[in-house]
């Protein structure tokens, strides 16, 4: 699929302006990183797949977590490394495809946060990615995948105009950054095509610059995710419904899937 607009990952500075402030999921990833410890006093190793500019990974590092990252986008990783340097953090990242990566380590947890798994658009892509993650786990380790659930309200929303997705203060100009999404959805293919617009506004709310990107996301249902875990060779799995570890009882929120490698 050839996109006519660039990927949002070609503009990591704008990506960060729009999304760096998002923190709702961080407590969960930090907690899960601490649970990765194989024994008391022995911290676990963590790998974040689709780590991007390090929104999560750098904060994990700042909290003393032994975490590394994988991402496909060189611009995103460059920005991550620049941020790490500015914050005085040492971090090891690999530029690689989530379907086919190799690192030197084996990990107690592999994370795919923030809909990163939605970049696997086919069953083959999904299975290759999960198998690759599994290979990088220590025995008894867990893969944790966080996805938005493709629920009823989501599919019923067939608005064709742009929707405000995120708004945050512009750290440099004193104005605001707004991220809009214009969505086309295919219910059977479980696909969303997005035109993303990132608008920079000055302190009086006047748009000064606008940038357009294009991306796609492939959604996954809960039993489907269980079957993917099964086919990728995991020995057991559990699907939760949020970063607070609630059970998945409604289709209106998050889906957090855990899959364990046999110990």
């Amino acid at each position: 699929m050839s996109a006519s607009l660039p990927s949002p990952y070609e503009a990591p500075d704008l990506y960060d302006l729009a999304l760096e402030g998002f923190q709702d999921d961080f407590g969960f990833w930090l907690d899960e990183s601490r649970r990765a410890a194989p024994a008391p006093g022995r911290p676990g190793r963590v790998l974040e797949v689709s780590c991007g500019t390090g929104r999560i990974l750098l904060r994990l590092r700042a909290n003393g977590i032994d975490a590394e990252g994988v991402d496909l986008s060189a611009p995103m990783l460059s920005r991550l490394e620049a941020k790490a340097k500015a914050r005085g953090l040492a971090v090891h990242v690999y530029r690689a495809d989530m379907r086919d990566f190799t690192t030197e380590q084996r990990y107690h947890r592999v994370f795919i946060p923030f809909n990163g798994f939605a970049h696997c658009e086919t069953v083959e892509d999904q299975l290759r990615c999960l198998q690759c993650c599994r290979e990088h786990l220590e025995p008894g380790g867990a893969l944790v995948v966080d996805m938005s659930y493709p629920g009823h309200e989501y599919w019923l929303d067939v608005r064709t105009e742009r929707i405000l997705e995120a708004e945050s203060p512009h750290s440099e100009s004193g104005g605001t950054t707004r991220m809009y999404d214009t969505r086309t959805k295919d219910r059977v293919a479980q696909l969303q095509h997005s035109i993303i617009e990132i608008e920079e506004l000055d302190e009086r709310g006047k748009p000064t610059r606008s940038h357009r990107f294009e991306t796609r996301q492939r959604w996954v249902y809960r039993y489907e995710l269980e079957l993917l875990f099964r086919l990728a060779g995991f020995s057991r799995w559990e699907i939760l419904g949020g970063w607070d570890r609630r059970p998945l009882e409604t289709d209106a929120g998050q889906m957090v899937g855990f899959a364990w490698k046999a110990g």
Binding site: Q190, E226, L231
Partner: protein
């Protein structure tokens, strides 16, 4: 009168899933006989129909000169099938069996699960067991064909918790109206549909209508989930169609028709 299952009154089953006064099936999803008979002709003998019920598809297939065997979990449904066959001078081979765990001596060119019966498999384990068991009964190169409703977002939104007139037909014996009212409830994250059904059978001579009540639950399946189930059961080639005309599956308002081949 109240039943615990639709299958405990096979005569009533035939009335509501039979043909209307115009001779046509009462629902589009029931307009499948020509599809399954043609498929049997092309794919070859013998054929196994799983969940054959009272023979709505099996008997016309036999009449077309095709060797077809059937299994069903419900003795009462099979008894009615045999009685109908006798009246038409047909000699069916049908067996009581659970689709998750049955053993027949023959191996088949084609196995079918018409009219959404696969949705009686309410867990992933049951689904995979049934598909594996059926696959073991296929010859190499044999085909499994089944159809299920696609979980339409708009249909669910319009029907959830609302009593609706879903079937209007006439009783073949009396020529008088029979009406089916369904109250459907959707547990969306669990992919479970629960139906409370009321059947009103108009009686002759102005006598009060007979009221029959029963309920059933179905576990719906998404397209990729179905593909993963087939893979988990050992099938490696599959096709998905929307409706019985061979068109691709593109809309969530269509019947999902699934074909899988044993290598």
């Amino acid at each position: 009168m109240a039943y615990t299952s639709a299958y405990l009154d096979p005569a009533l089953y035939d009335v509501i899933y039979g043909r209307g006064a115009d001779g046509k099936p009462v629902r589009a999803a029931l307009d499948d006989v020509a599809f399954y008979v043609d498929l049997a002709r092309r794919q070859g003998n013998p054929v196994l129909e799983v969940a054959c019920g009272t023979g709505r598809v099996l008997l016309p297939t036999l009449e077309a000169g095709i060797e077809i065997h059937g299994i069903d979990l419900e003795d009462g449904m099979l008894e009615r099938l045999r009685a109908k066959a006798q009246a038409r001078d047909l000699h069916p081979k049908v067996f009581r069996g659970d689709m998750r765990d049955f053993t027949l001596p023959a191996r088949y060119r084609l196995a079918t699960i018409p009219f959404r019966s696969f949705l009686h498999m309410e867990s992933t384990e049951d689904q995979i067991r049934a598909l594996r068991c059926i696959r073991e009964h296929l010859e190499p190169g044999g085909v499994l064909a089944l159809n299920v409703f696609y979980p339409s977002v708009d249909f669910m939104a319009a029907n959830d918790g609302v009593r609706k007139l879903t079937i209007q037909t006439t009783h073949p014996d009396t020529g008088l109206p029979v009406e089916v009212y369904d109250t459907s409830r959707y547990q969306r994250a669990q992919q479970r549909l629960s139906v409370e059904r009321l059947v009103l059978v108009t009686n002759p001579g102005g006598a009060p209508a007979s009221m029959i009540e029963y309920g059933f639950t179905l576990r719906w399946i998404y397209r990729f989930e179905m593909e993963l189930l087939l893979r988990a059961a050992g099938f490696s080639r599959f096709d998905f169609h929307g409706g019985f005309t061979g068109d691709p599956l593109t809309s969530d308002r269509e019947e999902m028709v699934v074909m899988a081949r044993r290598d």
